[in-house]
């Protein structure tokens, strides 16, 4: 789960990681007051969870309290990538910067450990730096048995070119950030940019913290936050899926896809594309889906106006074909089939599932390839 910038900065403050002075607000007159208190110039930053916020115009700067107020007026209520801005963070803008660094901690799958990543080339182009000049990225793999030690922090600070008191200050920030990462079960935590001011101080100007969803039971303060429409760039279908516990991702084609198992559903999207079709979504009903889950899944996919045909691909393992068939009938009863449906149904309790469908006059196919071709054909003929 992604935290808002102001939330992660609140945590940083608790751990005494230096951040710019600032305040959160929902009203533009208040932005004026905050700016008067902070002194100019200020940065006014939209608090939204979409990436590429800066490039999309979600961060504005102001040189007077009046200007700050009007900038906030522009941001509050504005839609960025389909998400309405409800809150802004007003912060002192650090003008006197000497350098922008990067520091982050994430997991390394191949080595099965956490890895600390640093670079003297921080800022919005860090991914570009990593891709084109990997030698400018410093990586320290953290042994899970012994953790991130003080000398690791000194090593990194030294490699970034800092010595003396600056080495101490920087290493302290790294060390504290590691503690935040462990205490909050971070999947990713980063400070970018980590600004070095002309006075030689370091400030975490922007922060990102993603908490591992599977660990949320250990962080009850964040657990109950239900993401509602308008706060994120999720579609109505994605929000509905989230409520029902289905894994759904919206795509931009016209063939709705439902399957069981993430790998199989991905392969189904690929097969549809292989035969010249365009998938409208990814929807995994998971293992052992009940008739009810199946009905909800169909409901979600059928509610997408772009969908012209639905392709259901089920290979019963733990999932039982008869349950799936019952779910399909249930959905038909509840909402009716407003669009053509192509079904491939094989595996556990296949005979019973097929009998249920046949009795209801619903046609099904044997192979995934055959069904994918059929779905593409139906979509091309205009549904």
């Amino acid at each position: 789960m992604k935290l808002y910038e102001h939330e992660s900065k609140t945590i940083f403050k608790k751990y005494e990681i230096p951040t710019p002075r600032g305040e959160l607000t929902t009203s533009s007159p208040q932005v004026k007051e905050i700016t008067e208190k902070l002194g100019v110039p200020v940065a006014i930053k939209a608090q939204i969870l979409v990436s590429g916020r800066g490039k999309a115009g979600g961060i504005l700067f102001a040189n007077s309290p009046e200007e700050a107020k009007s900038a906030a007026g522009k941001l509050l209520g504005m839609e960025i990538k389909g998400v309405k801005v409800k809150e802004v963070l007003v912060e002192e803008k650090i003008v006197a910067k000497k350098k922008e660094l990067y520091f982050g901690i994430t997991t390394d799958r191949a080595k099965c450990c956490y890895v600390a990543i640093a670079s003297s080339e921080g800022g919005i182009d860090i991914e570009e730096v990593a891709a084109t000049t990997p030698e400018r990225i410093i990586k320290v793999f953290i042994d899970p048995m012994y953790g991130f030690r003080s000398y690791h922090a000194y090593q990194i600070a030294g490699k970034l070119g800092y010595g003396g008191g600056q080495m101490r200050d920087l290493a302290t920030i790294f060390f504290k950030l590691y503690n935040v990462a462990m205490d909050y079960d971070a999947e990713l935590i980063e400070i970018n940019p980590l600004i070095e001011t002309v006075e030689g101080k370091f400030v975490a100007a922007d922060s990102r913290l993603l908490i591992d969803d599977n660990s949320l039971y250990r962080h009850p303060e964040y657990q109950k936050r239900l993401i509602s429409e308008g706060e994120t760039d999720l579609s109505a279908q994605e929000l509905e899926a989230q409520k029902t516990g289905l894994a759904y991702v919206k795509l931009d084609g016209n063939i709705g896809i439902i399957g069981n198992g993430a790998g199989l559903v991905m392969a189904t999207l690929d097969a549809v594309q292989f035969y010249g079709g365009k998938p409208a979504n990814f929807l995994d009903v998971g293992g052992g889906a009940s008739a009810d889950m199946m009905a909800s899944a169909l409901n979600i996919v059928l509610s997408d106006p772009k969908v012209e045909v639905v392709f259901i691909n089920i290979l019963g393992g733990i999932t039982r074909c008869d349950e799936v068939a019952k779910g399909i009938l249930e959905a038909k009863k509840r909402i009716g089939f407003t669009k053509p449906i192509v079904i491939r149904l094989v595996g556990t309790n296949e005979e019973e599932g097929r009998r249920i469908l046949t009795e209801a006059g619903i046609h099904f196919l044997d192979s995934m390839e055959e069904a994918a071709m059929k779905a593409v054909e139906v979509a091309k003929s205009g549904g």
């Binding site: 899970p144 993430a262 393992g317």
Partner: protein, 302 residues
């Protein structure tokens, strides 16, 4: 004898009294897996399908000489269950549980490495050596004893490809689900090494997906080591957009890493046949084996 497991594998089911644990214990027993004990704290003395239940793994091992365990314990406690199995001296630990925090999984893998224990999973359907031993939740009917070693990052897609291998007559020697999480115990490279040594295995199928770089590392290994057995691969998620998580915690394209294109290119460079569709894997391997005049007959073991 499969890799990691076989007829002599003596299994403890951790979390045997839960609904999943109990249900799959029944199915594994039906398959012929030697389940010797189960554990569930505070339920010691009970029985599930005639299998004795103990409070701790230590006690179960003392009484039954087990060498493997399968874990059905809920996510918040699964990390500790794996630690317990490792400390009790079991050599193969299969973690079926999904949604285990990454931090816990990292600690388990470090401990396992230190103790030289094989961890399969978490979030895996398990491992099966057809006709010998099933340590998992996969539907048994799709598998047939044969010559292809299968390693996969997904569940249902594995059944799809295994079905193809069974129908074609090639069958499987051992089929392993690595697990759908970002941090898992086995890599494709670990499994490839074992399949190279395994006499029953004549060819290997790798089933990968977007996210991470396990496939690229496998390709690198195959190219460097001069692998002697034919390998075919299928990668799911060719058409997945970046930044969106496709169900598995591991299936997400981040920036430039983890794309299907990068994995497919790496495999092709290493001389691996890459299937366009799941149904093509069996055909590609059959062709390769025929070309190299490798027998696809497998000594039947009952």
């Amino acid at each position: 004898m499969g890799i990691f497991i076989g007829k002599r594998t003596r299994v403890i089911v951790q979390g045997i009294t839960g609904s999943q644990g109990s249900f799959h214990t029944r199915l594994m027993l039906d398959y012929g897996t030697q389940i010797v004990a189960g554990t569930s704290p505070m339920k010691g003395g009970a029985e599930v399908h005639g299998i004795p239940v103990y409070d701790t793994v230590e006690e179960a091992v003392e009484k039954h000489e087990a060498n493997a365990s399968i874990i059905f314990v809920p996510a918040p406690f699964a990390g500790d269950a794996a630690f317990e199995a490792i400390e009790a001296g079991l050599k193969t630990v299969v973690i079926i549980t999904e949604h285990i925090p990454v931090k816990d999984a990292i600690q388990v893998m470090a401990r396992a490495k230190q103790a030289k224990v094989t961890v399969i999973g978490p979030n895996t359907p398990g491992i099966i050596a057809p006709n010998e031993c099933k340590l998992g939740i996969m539907p048994a009917h799709v598998f047939k004893r044969g010559v292809v070693g299968v390693a996969s990052r997904s569940g249902t897609l594995t059944y799809e490809i295994a079905t193809g291998l069974s129908v074609s007559g090639l069958g499987q020697s051992t089929c392993i689900g690595l697990g759908g999480d970002p941090i898992v115990g086995l890599s494709f490279v670990d499994v490839l090494r074992e399949f190279e040594r395994d006499r029953q295995t004549r060819a290997v199928a790798l089933i990968g997906e977007i996210g991470g770089n396990l496939e690229e590392l496998a390709a690198e290994y195959l190219a460097k080591e001069g692998y002697t057995k034919p390998v075919a691969a299928f990668i799911a998620g060719r058409t997945a957009p970046s930044g969106k998580r496709m169900g598995h915690a591991g299936a997400i394209i981040m920036g430039r890493t983890g794309t299907a294109a990068s994995k497919i290119e790496a495999f092709k460079k290493a001389g691996v046949d890459v299937a366009e569709k799941p149904g093509d894997v069996a055909r590609l391997l059959a062709e390769r084996l025929k070309k190299k005049s490798i027998s696809t007959r497998c000594k039947s073991e009952k």
